[in-house]
Amino acid sequence: MAVQVAVPPARAGLALKADVWLTRGFIVAIILYLVVALALPLATLLQKSFEVYEFRPEKVALAFYRDGAWQDAGRLSEWVERRGYVLNDGLRASERSRERFVDIIPKRERRGVERFRVTDLSAGGGLLLLEGRLSEPGETFELSRREFSRLRLRPEARFGFDNYRYYFATPALRSSITNSLFIATLTTLIVIPIAFGYAYALTRSCMPMKGFFKLVALVPILVPSLLPGIGLVYLFGKQGVLTPLLFGYDIYGPIGIVMASAFFTFPHAFLIILTALSIADARLYEAALSLRASPARIFWTVTLPGARYGLISAAFVVFTLVITDFGVPKVVGGTYNVLALDIYKQVIGQQNFQIGAVVSVVLLFPAAVAFAVDRMASRRQVALLTARAVPLQPEPKRRFDLLMLGFCGLVAVYILGILIMCQLAALFTFWPYNLTFSLKNYDFDRMDGGGWASYWNSVEMASWTALIGTAIVFSGAYIVEKIRGLFAARQGFQLLAMMPMAVPGMVLGLSYIFFFNNPANPLSFLYGTMAILVISTIVHFYTVSHLTAVTALKQMDAEFEAVSESLKQPLWRMFTRVTVPVCLPAILDIAIYLFVNAMTTVSAVVFLYSTRTTLASVAVLNMDDAGDIAPAAAMGMMIFYTNVAARLIQTLLARAVLARTQAWRRR
């Protein structure tokens, strides 16, 4: 990429100055984006979790017009006390709780009263409700008997720890914490050894069909986490094909959750461990062999320690994925409550936003801790790789290779079995009583979830996310990596870019409701649009994309920028003519990552879609909710095929791009 245009020196100075302003402007814009789309919503969520509602009868004054004169009737609280009336049946008041005045002040006390005066003495007003009209602070309602009978008392809002106290005092809610920790830990303990074995087979054995097994391992990334749940219902539910294998245990509950979670977290663990195992140094093995160590001893003293940071990292990634996922427990959880599901139930089921916010804050803790540990572990992993390492080449060992082949075969059967079962179930007319094939279950327009429009919305949303997201992420990473100066801003940005990883999707989605669905927010016009889905999805998957971009950029020598500067070339020219073409493979990786995740994600967007922007992944959830499980499987498989197609297009594109722009790599 030779620079062909010589720029006159007088204009070059201007261009450089423009560069400084351009980069400053850009870094401010991206930081602003992450602040508005992440930090502020989370702050609103935190605030909401402290919002408490309470009836304040002592702030309501009454007067009765009786026998031709107004008489003071005291405060409403006195009436409540005198009658021993229990406000709101002793329940915690919510935003929507109401009390009728005539229930508090009995008929005989109202005898002979012609008119009523009721005054709202609160500072914020709104304690009184009459046919949809709220009282202003200090306002007096003068009412006839008939109107008085329709007058209602509303609770007042304040801030306090009551929601948290309520949360920890309610066993039903509290038990979700241990449930969540339990299934996340159990899944981690199961998935990590399996993923290790699988990656071990691919790196250290000479078994055949390695390419096929690597492909199969990545399949679960392409489907929403709801789909393995649905597949398990068909395999192990009451009418399941393999139900006897459960020996009378019920798939609905922890068993099902762990089995389905293992399915969808497997590729994530596998990829991390695979990387850790592929950087092994053959010299260590040679040394061990010459010291006459047994294979077992080599495994325990060389192989495992070499991959330990990868294992730790994988374990925490799996743990985080399981504890923040709600698709799996939604489908096969039965009556087993977990934290992520509680947020959904509190918000969607009961519109109890404050408690939903509390659960979100609780869920943030384990996710944030796991995230921190993972970051520390992955930093060390990189340090293990030295320039002098010699890659390890496995030697064929017949028995060991066959054993590994068998093991990988089992895992592949599990993954493909679930997928094939879903496809079959989608094609059967009426499982299990009518097993003829038909496309009846693809008639999405007759089901909940928004029909075929949802599918196209998802494709549109994923495309926008990939397009805009890649541009934002890559430019942001470029600024962090390649720009000198602006140190504080770059550090702040780096921190912001890592935050999304620690924020569960449900928490992000809920915080968006609080932040954007507020008429006072000038950005509230975004609520219910396609734009908010794209914005939230980009933020949700920001961290991994950012890290991919940073890694790719790190491979480029900083000299490029120095040379470009000394040639007095504006930054954008360097960026578009050199950096982007060189990094195109990584850019395509980011784009496909964003696309696939946008197609499959449920957690954040389930709170944010509107009638015009229903999504395929949410449709899977809603159809399963309504009992239309076969159509849900059908839609889930549509997502799968779409992602496969996107992947194929990406591979072809990458190949074409490589041939055109990376020719310099070959000589």
Partner: protein, 347 residues
């Protein structure tokens, strides 16, 4: 080959013609879009809109559908800035709640006098009008019951028999209107104390509670659970689809609620909203409801519905909607306290 390409050409011509007609129609009069909130079964929504558009092609309906509890909560949450223009097909108990919050616009649709007095709000003009009644029923999968050796239950109390342990699914009343009408009817029929006692015992047999009211019956139809507490319309549809289902009307009586319609305050399209309301209680609409529901607002038009149990009207209890609406929050909170707490898996 020729036939396919011919068909293709014909299809293209047709679609070109159709789009031209649409363009002409659009030019003639700008289409108005009404946002309509509903809890009507998803599979019927297209039909409802299409039949309405036969008479009023210039008003487009944008459906927002979810379970009764969700739609109600959504309307309440949006009350400072309502998004809906019209509610078409939501439980009367919910509409009573919305009326108290001042969310409904009173309007007397044309032909109001033909409605059964039970099927309208008492105020004049009424804040809401009823369309049809949806009634509770038990879906009983005969194939699975026989495999598990379960006798057919005749009454609600039969379901508390330990023989049905883990064999019953019912909707969560917090999100499902069907679930709430079940719970409110048990409390009305058996009295508060006995009602909760009944539910305590029933809870011992419940395998899981669902989000939506149709899921228990759909699950029973798939054989995933032998017994699903659901509603008659869903049961009849599942039976029609070929599921081995028996529809049971318990002998104590069954809860029911009315599907009703109303205009939401501050709509930007009051005229179109009224046109829709007039149509909602028209004879044509009533006949349409009658395709799935046996009990409809204009009683004399009602015809028997296929697969619907015949004794259904007599079994409907004397439902006190006012009581149900007023005590809704308390009942739901009590229900959650009792049953959502025991969240451990069975087995």
């Amino acid at each position: 080959m020729t036939t396919t390409s011919e068909r293709l050409v014909r299809g293209l011509r047709l679609s070109a013609l159709a789009s031209a007609m649409v363009l002409i129609a659009l030019g003639a009069r700008a289409q108005v879009e009404l946002t309509v909130y509903t809890a009507v079964e998803a599979e019927d929504l297209k039909k409802y809109a299409a039949r309405f558009n036969e008479d009023h092609p210039d008003i487009k309906i944008n459906w927002v559908r979810d379970s009764t509890g969700i739609i109600t909560a959504k309307l309440l949450a949006e009350k400072d800035n309502p998004q809906a223009d019209v509610i078409w097909g939501l439980a009367a108990t919910s509409l009573l709640l919305l009326k108290a919050e001042g969310l409904l616009e009173p309007y007397a649709p044309k032909g109001l006098e033909r409605l059964d007095p039970k099927f309208r709000d008492k105020a004049d003009p009424p804040y809401w009008v009823g369309m049809d009644a949806w009634v509770a029923a038990i879906c009983f999968n005969t194939v699975e019951a026989e495999k598990a050796g379960l006798p057919m239950p005749k009454s609600w109390w039969d379901l508390t028999d330990p023989v049905y342990k883990g064999a019953v699914a019912m909707p969560n009343p917090n999100s499902s209107g069907t679930g709430f009408l079940d719970v409110s009817s048990w409390l009305q029929m058996f009295g508060e104390e006995r009602g909760w006692e009944f539910m305590d015992k029933l809870h011992e047999n419940i395998a899981y509670y669902t989000h939506s009211g149709s899921k228990p019956c759909k699950d029973a139809a798939r054989g995933e659970i032998p017994i699903g507490i659901s509603f008659a319309f869903r049961a009849a549809r599942s039976k029609e689809a070929g599921a081995p289902i028996e529809i049971i009307i318990p002998e104590e009586g069954i809860g029911w609620d009315m599907e009703a319609a109303a205009i939401v305050v501050d709509t930007d399209y009051p005229e179109e909203a009224r046109i829709l309301m007039d149509w909602i209680i028209s004879e044509k609409a009533m006949r349409m409801y009658n395709e799935g529901y046996a009990v409809i607002g204009i009683t004399e038009l009602a015809k028997p519905v296929k697969y619907f149990p015949e004794n259904i009207i007599d079994a409907m209890i004397d439902n006190d909607f006012e009581w149900a609406a007023r005590n809704r929050e308390r009942i739901l909170a009590e229900w959650s306290r009792r049953y959502e707490g025991k969240s451990l898996p069975r087995n």
